[in-house]
Symmetry: C2
């Protein structure tokens, strides 16, 4: 714990594991609250490094760097759920890590995650763990085709997934995901995908943002639309599911839950992310208090901020070459542009996002 | 000019002179646009240092540091108008400084400033330059009492000012402001003080935020209220005055103009600030694009952002001990809190602000 403290205001120094755009936006939101942030990331060109004074450029396995980091900061949070076990354990033994180790354990493994959600009484797509090809054959026989084969760990943006349809060779699908420990999920003929962002304070207070509808392309989130076009009862059910999971995890911070909505109105938990989430980027443009600020408030033990929405919004990710339109987007009325300051544009790389606002109509 | 450039997005590195809360908020707004910022300030505890990776901690008279700064960055802007002449001249000879040197020259000296505004055809309080006690006697004889004696340079937050009323000793007032080159201004029995924030792009486009009404206490801005309670014609006149001054200065960036509104509806220019301004802090909470972002857009040569307002707002400065209420304010619904991360609380020191929003009523 750092002895150098401010005499007023929130006096924590927040350590952020991960230096991507989420870490960057967390640090920016923290700064508005007067919090100092220190970013820990292995990549020298980490976007979050540009917006903090103190950085730790080191590998997550570097225990000397982790120990120094633990001395520099008061509380640790993270921008991604794939924090290596050793780093999370090492830091948790020395200081508070929020959201806690439980949230990491649950969300790092798709089998543990779905089992956890099911144990909370929530619907999930039917699934089977797959540890070898024999498991896969058995699982396919029970769940039928199409089905989705996913690595249990380290999947993101559609990576580590393969759909097995009629006529497909299961062994080829298993090879395609690297023959890793996997999960086979029954294919859900969903009508839409939504997500709900729940924030839970250190004191247990729970708030939520309005559920958003998400459109993916090539496994990557392209667009989030708020409000989602779902009946009020579905909204209420989705919000309740977020709360149930956050409370069961004794969670502190923003929790993202992705849900499938079926034609008959059922909600199934697709996945959880124990962090701020791409589908909540619109909140910085359309809410009094963004997901980033509310996460930092929760982590720092402050009261939660208002999640109220003052506009309808459509958030569009700027992926790869999309970002080349930045100047035209900057000139658009009602468009709130956010660029991540990444030096290299690559296919599939998230370079920024834009939230287009439509003022709420009032009676 | 720094050779290390991003391949997409705005590719400038913006140098910011001054490390206070305004520089900090400029850097935070720049980061959202993907701009990298480097802050130059002499004080090691500068609040803006905490939110950028690259800093220059050096005196404004240090030409070695200034030369290195000029090589590190592409464009220079500033958070305060009292940039020492030598630094502004030195940097202007090497790279683009926005808003330009003209804006600094005009706003650094109250006699030059008022003369300039008058030459633009705008009303100003009647005034006389004062260089000695004989000048002061003559000026008092012409302008009458009460009158306000101010230093020509380096005044802020009511410092360097003295009101001379009936019975007061002019020599004592002159001594109180340090017997510096001064200006005597006729006292304006104003009904309210407003300010108008104008932003002018590098391409000459001009936009403005809605005029705000300002309440000072002890010479320090306490509260800004938007919309100002003034007739539509007064709003139009105020906005026009901001535009006239910005265009006459060939200005790039946010220009703040403080105006007196008299009981008979006349508008007189009180002072100008060639920078983002305390009376525009509400824009970060109530507008799509804040004064900070629009200043950075203008400085970086980007299109201007929307200055539209989605809520009525009251901004309150948290000065000195005010900030001790930060936790209660953080818990208020509709209150957007911004703390500057300053370590030491002192009387009269601006520690943060809060903008309380009231959603616009619509027909």
């Amino acid at each position: 714990m750092n002895p150098e403290r401010s005499s007023v205001g929130p006096d924590q120094i927040i350590g952020i594991l991960g230096g991507g755009q989420l870490g960057r936006m967390l640090a920016l939101a923290g700064a508005r609250l007067g919090l100092r942030c220190q970013v820990y990331a292995p990549e020298p060109e980490s976007p979050a490094f540009d917006v903090v004074r103190r950085i730790t450029e080191a590998d997550y396995s570097d225990e000397v760097a982790l120990a120094r980091f633990a001395e520099d900061v008061d509380i640790v949070t993270y921008e991604f759920e794939n924090v290596p076990d050793n780093a999370a354990r090492f830091l948790s033994s020395r200081l508070t890590v929020r959201p806690g180790a439980r949230a990491l354990t649950v969300s790092q493994d798709r089998v543990v995650e779905k089992t956890f959600a099911r144990d909370c009484g929530l619907d999930v797509p039917d699934f089977e763990p797959v540890d070898d090809e024999a498991d896969l054959e058995r699982a396919l026989a029970r769940l039928g085709r199409p089905a989705v084969l996913k690595t249990r760990r380290f999947g993101y943006d559609g990576k580590g997934q393969a759909v097995i349809r009629m006529g497909d060779d299961p062994a080829a699908a298993y090879a395609a995901i690297g023959r890793q420990p996997a999960i086979l999920e029954a294919f859900v003929p969903f009508e839409r995908e939504i997500s709900v962002l729940t924030v839970r304070g250190a004191d247990g207070e729970v708030r939520h943002y309005d559920p958003v509808e998400n459109v993916h392309r090539g496994g990557i989130l392209r667009t989030s639309i708020v409000p989602a076009q779902i009946p009020a009862a579905t909204t209420i059910a989705a919000v309740r599911m977020g709360r149930v999971l956050a409370e069961a995890l004794d969670y502190v911070g923003v929790l993202a839950v992705e849900l499938f909505v079926t034609a008959d109105g059922r909600l199934l938990v697709n996945e959880m992310a124990p962090r701020v989430h791409n589908s909540g980027h619109w909140t910085e443009a359309a809410c009094h208090c963004s997901q980033f600020e509310n996460h930092m408030r929760a982590v720092a033990g402050l009261p939660l901020g208002s999640t109220e929405r003052h506009a309808d919004a459509v958030m569009q990710n700027l992926i790869g070459a999309d970002v080349e339109a930045w100047r035209a987007i900057a000139a658009e009325d009602g468009a709130v542009l956010h660029l991540y300051g990444k030096r290299d544009q690559r296919d599939g790389r998230k370079m920024g996002h834009v939230t287009r606002l439509k003022t709420l109509s009032r009676g």
